[in-house]
Amino acid sequence: MWALVQPWYGGRLDEGWRGRSAEEAQAILDGIGLTGEFWRLV
């Protein structure tokens, strides 16, 4: 879970945060091996 949480919340305090697309979020999930249907965003 820690491996997910770090990239998931990284950068969200930045003043320049402008949201994250579904594709970008999916890349985080895929990158740590969360590839099942439960984790599909796109």
Binding site: W2, W8, L13, G19, R20, F38
Partner: protein, 149 residues
Amino acid sequence: MSALEALDWAVRTRVYRGFAETGRAPEVARIAADLGSTEHRVRAGLTRLFDAHEVAVHEDGSVWMANPFSAVPTDYPVRTPHMSCWANCAWDALGVPAILGTDGWTRTRCAESGAELDFGVEGGALVGDDAVIHLLTPLRDAWVDIGFT
């Protein structure tokens, strides 16, 4: 994401900064004063931020959640070196030290067994009791009912 206006993003930044610095959500009036805006415009911005899944708001227009932070008490209190706050769930209890880049500790109870659990992050690594986080809502549906999620 681009549907949000500059003021909306400024409101979001102010909400997150308030949580990060104090552990509590800033009031709408405070946000408006800090940004040189009006409560009406801030509330409208918060509504748009809710629609964009950036901030959750109560029916009265006040801030409810800016994930991982919660404006209301939850079963997941988080202590950090400089403040204490509430997280929305077990995932977010780890999200607080992640977003802050600090240590953070949570004492709660297992939702299934009721056993006490202490866990957190120290020096960038997980510490404390082993546990399983049971997520009920598929991620794509997280904002259908963010309170349940």
